[in-house]
């Protein structure tokens, strides 16, 4: 084995794959554009905020006592102060989750939702509600603009007579019915509804002789973050999303990186064979040097993908202030398992590529490989739910799916013990060795074989032959 030749083959392999416009655009530019688009989408959605709803709310109050509450609750000053409050609370919450910049973004986004302005008008107690609905319909059909925007009728609320006090010892309280003009902002509708409900509730407390503040105090239990007890101490309880997000992202990334390298390896090998450039190459280097060089070259392709996406992931975690979700050890193991998985897959791809004459012939031999690559997906749920179950442990010792199972386990919140990681790496190293050894034999014989595509039996014959 001549190392200089291997590096030269690898260099060409990498350059001809990764230094192409297609690859750079597909692998690097697309995620970068997506990352750039996220703030853009936030800006666009803020800019697309519809104008604030302004207008009149009619209240037909049969109970004759809720109206005043509603009027004060939905007065412009009250509404505005509540909205400002809400934006601040959301910003504070976001700061805890995503850091200062995330909080500021959320506060801006919240403030950009324009505060509605209402004029609450009581109707005569015997007013016909249909008449008010007709007024809304008329406003909808007429093209003329209103002199005062506040004249626009947004809603009409009909409060039941027993909404806030029981009548004749009935079982429960009555309620209210709201009619809205169409296409109001969602926030406006919920503001009106919650205002009405709050007012009715307020009146009920009052009628029952209860103190509102006291009830609030009684009902409120402050929220503290739950902890999990671990061997070493305790930690914050893993939130549902985190337990799933990191392992599935790791799994998908690992599969994408290995498959990209593997696929390119298959394509270039078939291309060299069908272009008949193979024998020219073999006059300059041995089949082993060629195969090793090609595998290393495509490893570089997979690694560059991995580095790009990993960095993006880490940047995202930093932005969301959740760098605690992954550890340096996980990242190192990620690269270790990538190499193990890649070498096994690449061996299969190199063997297949050398054995067939064109892409079409490769399909039938590719099917078993693709099935193997699907297996980790099937094990995703059981492994994530119980990263240290018997099933998870056993499957993580079976190459070539082992690295994929292991990456889910080590990136889960309950990683396997160090001895298991070491043992799995050892088993996989043996696997890599066997896969490469078999592939080398097939590669040597297959490269110069043309004619009908080989089946599994022919491949075994070649292995014995070489």
């Amino acid at each position: 084995m001549n190392f200089t030749k291997i590096t030269r083959v690898a260099g060409r392999e990498f350059a001809s794959t990764a230094m192409t416009k297609g690859f750079i655009i597909g692998a690097l530019v697309v995620p970068a554009v997506m990352a750039a688009l996220i703030p853009l989408i936030a800006i666009l959605s803020a800019a697309a905020q519809p104008s604030a709803d302004k207008g009149t709310i009619y209240v037909l109050d049969h109970s004759a006592e809720v109206f005043n509450e509603i009027e004060s609750r939905l007065s412009p000053e009250e509404v505005r102060s509540r909205w400002e409050d809400r934006a601040k609370r959301a910003a504070n919450f976001a700061k805890g989750m995503m850091g200062q910049s995330g909080g500021d973004q959320i506060e801006n986004a919240m403030n950009s939702i324009k505060t509605p302005e209402f004029r609450v008008i009581p109707t005569a107690p015997d007013a016909d509600i249909e008449q008010i609905k007709t007024e809304i319909r008329n406003q909808l059909t007429s093209k003329a603009t209103l002199d005062d925007p506040l004249e626009k009728v947004l809603a009409v609320i009909e409060i039941d007579i027993d909404a806030s006090k029981k009548v004749n010892d009935a079982e429960g309280y009555g309620s209210y019915q709201a009619f809205f003009r169409p296409k109001l902002n969602e926030e406006t509708v919920s503001e009106i509804e919650s205002g009405v409900r709050w007012s009715i509730r307020e009146k009920r407390y009052e009628n029952a002789g209860l103190d509102r503040d006291q009830i609030k105090e009684l009902a409120s239990i402050s929220q503290r973050e739950s902890k999990e007890i671990t061997e070493e101490g305790e930690r914050n309880e893993s939130s549902g999303i985190a337990t799933f997000l990191i392992p599935i992202a790791s799994l998908v990334l690992l599969i994408v990186a290995t498959m990209t390298g593997g696929q390119y390896l298959l394509t270039t090998t078939i291309e060299e064979k069908s272009n008949r450039v193979v024998e020219v190459l073999l006059s300059a280097c041995s089949p082993m040097e060629l195969m090793t060089g090609k595998i290393i070259g495509q490893m570089g392709v997979g690694l560059s993908l991995l580095i790009v996406y990993n960095s993006l992931g880490i940047v995202a975690l930093i932005a969301f202030n959740r760098l605690d979700m992954i550890s340096g050890q996980t990242i190192i193991l990620f690269f270790v398992f990538f190499l193990l998985a890649y070498f096994m897959l690449a061996s299969m791809m190199a063997a297949i590529g050398s054995a067939v004459s064109d892409m079409r012939e490769a399909q039938s031999l590719m099917t078993p490989v693709m099935l193997i690559m699907m297996i980790p997906y099937f094990f995703f749920m059981p492994v994530i739910r119980a990263p240290n179950s018997m099933l998870s442990t056993v499957t993580s010792f079976i190459p070539p799916i082992s690295p994929f199972i292991m990456i889910m386990r080590v990136s889960s919140t309950d990683p396997p013990p160090a001895w298991q990681i070491a043992a799995v790496i050892f088993v996989n190293l043996i696997g890599v060795f066997i896969f490469l050894w078999l592939a080398a034999k097939i590669f040597r014989v297959g490269l110069l074989m043309y004619g009908k595509p080989p089946n599994l039996r022919t491949l075994i014959k070649w292995i014995k032959m070489a």
């Binding site: 060299e272 008949r276 024998e279 020219v280 074989m449 004619g451």
Partner: protein, 321 residues
Amino acid sequence: MNAVRKTFGAKVAVEGIDLVVPQGALYGFIGPNGAGKTTTIRMIMSILFPDSGELSVLGKKSAVESKDRIGYLPEERGVYKKMKVAAFLVYMGRLKGLDSRGLKPKVMEWLERVELADVAKKKCEELSKGMQQKVQFIASVLHDPDLIILDEPFSGLDPVNMRLLRDLINEQHAAGKTVIFSTHVMQQAESICDHIIMIHEGKKVLDDTLGDIRSRFDPRVIHVDTVGADDQSDLISSVAGVSSVRQSEGIYEVKVLDSMDQQQAMQNILASLPVSRIEIKRPTLEDVFIEIVTGGSPSGDHEDVRAKLLAGSKETQEIGS
């Protein structure tokens, strides 16, 4: 090469070939399609390995150790379609162990010599087949090898480029390089080589200089062109020392008895009838070839044999064709 043998399954591709090519020689390697030429060459190149027998190339046990000193133009030759011509040659040069410094000008110099300088920046797939072949020839001699093996270097070239390539081969030979090239076009071998090796059905059947071959395969035939249009076959065959007469395209091919001196036979013919032209037929490599392939049968039905050879050629594409 010593008693080298190679089989593919039940098929014996090369059967006990012994071969010595001295340094600085220019050897032609001929044989019908499927005779085992490419297999033999691939074994010399250590692309295939013999089942038995020994092989030494440039003083080493196998070509693996001396690949950088060998230039090889395979029969199954190709280029990276998407790669630019100059880049491809630079890559091949680097793969052959050349330093990247000074490689580019060298590539350009070669491209100019084969009149391809203007396509250096084009993609290989844009080149015609003949152009690609010249590019591949450069790839095989770029690293200034001591041994150059060319498998069917002339196939697919027009006469102008054929001559260009022949000059380049002669030039390499003159520079002291050992050159082996295979062909099934006999005239080419005849016009370039000083030594011919022929293999047939995996066995070496000929290994001699061109001169020796000619005298050994003397057909003992005299070409006679008579005066007048009358059929003179009977008259000629009655001449002393003539074994048989055959007429082809107005010329009599007169086979001389083995016991008779050819000069004497010629004089006998001249004495018996008026003759406008008479000469001793010089054996062409083609005749030799066909005589060997057909197992020494009278060199009569050339066309038949030729047709048969052509028909049996491209049945299989497996190695060892």
